[in-house]
């Protein structure tokens, strides 16, 4: 009996001693946990290289790289926040960051951001991570826009005059050109070459981002409260897409069920001449997968009343429960210097949010359409839906099925508009 007790007391004493010593004695080096969502080989390599360099330069502040994934980051972060076992830095996107900040999960970074960084990053990017009180909840670092891809051989042969960034096509121009390019070569009544293909499998983000250029926005704030309005501007964009697919028959109807990636292989085959409204990342797919003799290019975004587009930059944020916010910010500053940000952007075929980085020659070459693509950055703004806590539910439950039904021609634009508005108002009420 007594011997068992003495062993226990001994162990306990040892434990107290060890704990006491560590808390009194040495200043342990700080370890920061960094959850990254990089997934393309090139960009994972860039991430790891920057982290390794930092760890070498800062023996007192070590960064542990944690590989996250876009599929599970939401659950991962919600669980972390609720259990208060948070990473110190995490990679995500502005649309979700605003929601997290409204739930009180994030550190306000505005006092920690250096002047130089604040001035260099585009205002459109800052907008998307700030609230009305001027608090900032993430550092935007990569973003993308929707461009138009074209088949050079087809357009040259048809003698189509190409638009420029100063003189872009309007949606009516696009409609006219698509008519010219739609051909039935063998006269069997079946179209062999479509003017355009608009991938609409997951239509909401694409439509929302493009609708800004038509002067629409679906969400608006009245007396500080969100409302959903599907008015003339929103309907005009839906109508012109429907007309191209089902009235003119110049847009390939099969693209309604295809994602941006799935629409590409037939583009290489010359089945369609234009892909309007596809993300800039698609260029990487073409460079890697298209046949060597495939000639293609990038056209500036189609104009409605403007070329404005919704921006949803990728961000780095610091949870409120992180015990090392200042050290974490130091790491972010290093991670997002001009040179590092350029490396990360190239790895993902996206744009850096720093003006100085975007001006680097890599982003201004005519190769792979970089120059025309980079020029679209000036049109990126924050969509008015981004700070509505109801957006996620409205998107999944209302907008996605309604737009899918619309584009497969089961309901009219008028019916779609009415449903999105009415069902939307009910969802909004839950969150107010």
């Amino acid at each position: 009996m007594s011997s068992r007790w003495s062993i226990r007391t001994g162990l306990l004493l040892a434990l107290v001693l060890v704990l006491g010593l560590t808390s009194l004695g040495y200043a342990e080096p700080v370890t920061l946990r960094f959850v990254s969502l990089a997934w393309q080989e090139q960009s994972v390599a860039a991430n790891l290289a920057i982290v390794e360099e930092w760890n070498k330069l800062n023996p007192d502040i070590q960064v542990e790289y944690v590989q996250g994934s876009w599929d599970s980051i939401h659950d991962y972060m919600v669980t972390s926040f609720e259990t208060r076992d948070v990473p110190d830095i995490f990679h995500y996107e502005s649309a979700q960051i605003i929601d997290f900040s409204q739930r009180g999960y994030l550190t306000d970074l505005s006092p920690l951001i250096p002047e130089e960084m604040k001035a260099d990053i585009f205002d459109g990017a800052w907008q998307s991570v700030s609230n009305e009180e001027g608090q900032i909840f993430g550092i935007p670092f990569l973003w993308e826009s929707l461009i138009v891809l074209y088949n050079k051989d087809i357009l040259e042969e048809a003698g189509i005059e190409l638009p420029t960034s100063d003189n872009p096509w309007t949606w009516d121009d696009l409609r006219r050109v698509a008519k010219e390019l739609t051909k039935d070569f063998d006269g069997d009544g079946e179209i062999d070459q479509w003017g355009a293909a608009i991938p609409l499998r997951a239509p909401v983000n694409r439509i929302m981002n493009l609708t800004l250029g038509y002067g629409g926005g679906y969400f608006q704030k009245v007396d500080g409260k969100h409302q959903i309005r599907v008015g003339l501007a929103e309907k005009a964009l839906l109508q012109i897409i429907m007309d191209m697919i089902y009235v003119d028959k110049t847009a390939y109807p099969g693209a309604v069920g295809l994602s941006g990636t799935a629409v590409l292989p037939a583009f290489y085959e010359g089945d369609y001449a234009l892909i309007p409204g596809i993300g800039v990342w698609a260029r990487q797919q073409i460079v890697e997968n298209a046949p060597a003799d495939f000639r293609w290019g990038v056209l500036p975004p189609i104009k409605g009343v403007s070329q404005a587009q919704g921006a949803n930059p990728q961000t780095l944020s610091i949870p409120k429960d992180s015990k090392h916010a200042e050290e974490a910010m130091e790491f972010i500053k290093f991670f997002l210097t001009k040179e590092n940000m350029a490396k990360l952007a190239l790895g993902d075929w996206m744009f850096p949010t720093r003006e100085s980085a975007l001006a680097l020659p890599e982003f201004q070459t005519d190769e792979a359409g970089w120059k025309v693509s980079s020029e679209t950055v000036q049109h990126l703004v924050m969509g008015p839906w981004q700070d509505s806590p109801a957006y996620a539910e409205w998107k999944d439950r209302v907008a996605t099925p309604v737009l899918q039904e619309l584009f497969s021609n089961q309901i009219t634009v008028e019916e779609a508009a009415q449903r999105m508005e009415e069902e939307g108002q009910r969802i909004l009420r839950r969150y107010q």
Partner: protein
């Protein structure tokens, strides 16, 4: 004296009770309680009585998900038990390679639901590279490849097919065990009385298997109703909510929209509904077997 032995027994049980209470009972009670609050992740938690349930009554998305859940649960359970019975008969017949077949039948059961989902994702590939589309086109049954998991008409039947496939082995094996307990003499007697194959099945096999069928139906019903991983990997509830089972619905409420209180309320209702249905079914079956 009596009292001491009671305490002594408690002392023996206690070490096993503590983890059960800590990791099972407390979270369960908390989960039930959450269903009566307006808790949204990040915000204050307030008791709000039956508010969640009132909202649920008007929540058309919940009802449509419940309808999907009903079709899925009945479809998969029925398929698993009926086909399972057929498969069990086949395995019970003295056929060549019977031992191997019995082992092979277990394969789908050995796979975790997520792996089953990934595998069937490939089977259902939307273009001609998908084995299912390829086979059906070769056989001349369809002229265009079908986008099984993204089609409004085909998504639910497709996942039900996978659900049946995954649950079939267990039903078949349990029913096979049942079949083997039926004495051969019963069949001999029945055939002497002039019963054919169908007659023997109807008057000997089915009545003898009744208790086993009852238990496998209630178990499969509960499991199928609570399915998550398989459907999540196949469709995430799409297209347009056509395969959004109640469990997926609750998950979306909790994790995607952060409405934890409402999600917990959904859980409460689902447990209630499933237990009610199972109790009603068991009572009816037991009464019949007593009669």
């Amino acid at each position: 004296m009596k009292r001491r032995s009671w305490l002594g027994q408690l002392g023996l049980v206690l070490p096993f009770l503590i983890p059960v209470v800590l990791f099972s009972v407390i979270p369960l009670l908390r989960g039930i309680y959450l269903g009566f609050t307006d808790y949204r992740f990040g915000f204050e938690m307030r008791f709000n009585g039956l508010e969640n349930y009132r909202y649920m009554l008007t929540d058309s998305y919940f009802w449509s998900s419940f309808r999907v859940g009903a079709i899925w649960t009945i479809g998969t359970t029925l398929g698993q038990v009926v086909l399972g019975l057929g498969l069990a008969q086949l395995l019970n017949a003295d056929l060549f390679g019977q031992r191997l077949a019995r082992i092979l039948v277990l394969v789908p059961w050995a796979m975790p639901p997520v792996i089953r989902g990934l595998m069937w994702n490939m089977v259902f590939l939307p273009d001609t590279s998908g084995p299912l589309n390829y086979l059906l086109m070769q056989a001349g049954m369809i002229s265009q490849p079908i986008n099984w998991l993204n089609s409004v008409a085909w998504a639910l039947p497709s996942i039900i097919l996978v659900g049946i496939w995954g649950g079939l082995p267990q039903s078949a094996i349990v029913l096979l065990a049942g079949l083997q307990t039926i004495p051969k003499e019963l069949y001999e007697a029945a055939s002497l009385d002039g019963a054919g194959v169908l007659g023997q099945f109807r008057y000997v096999t089915l009545p003898s298997l009744k208790p086993i069928i009852t238990s496998i139906v209630s178990l499969r019903f509960m499991w199928n109703f609570n399915a998550f991983g398989l459907v999540w990997t196949l469709t995430q509830g799409g297209p347009g909510g056509r395969t959004r089972l109640p469990m997926l619905f609750a998950y979306e409420e909790g994790f995607r929209y952060g409405n934890a209180g409402y999600a917990a309320a959904l859980g409460n209702v689902m447990v209630l509904v499933v237990s009610l249905l199972v109790v009603l079914y068991l009572r009816k079956e037991l009464k019949e077997s007593e009669a």
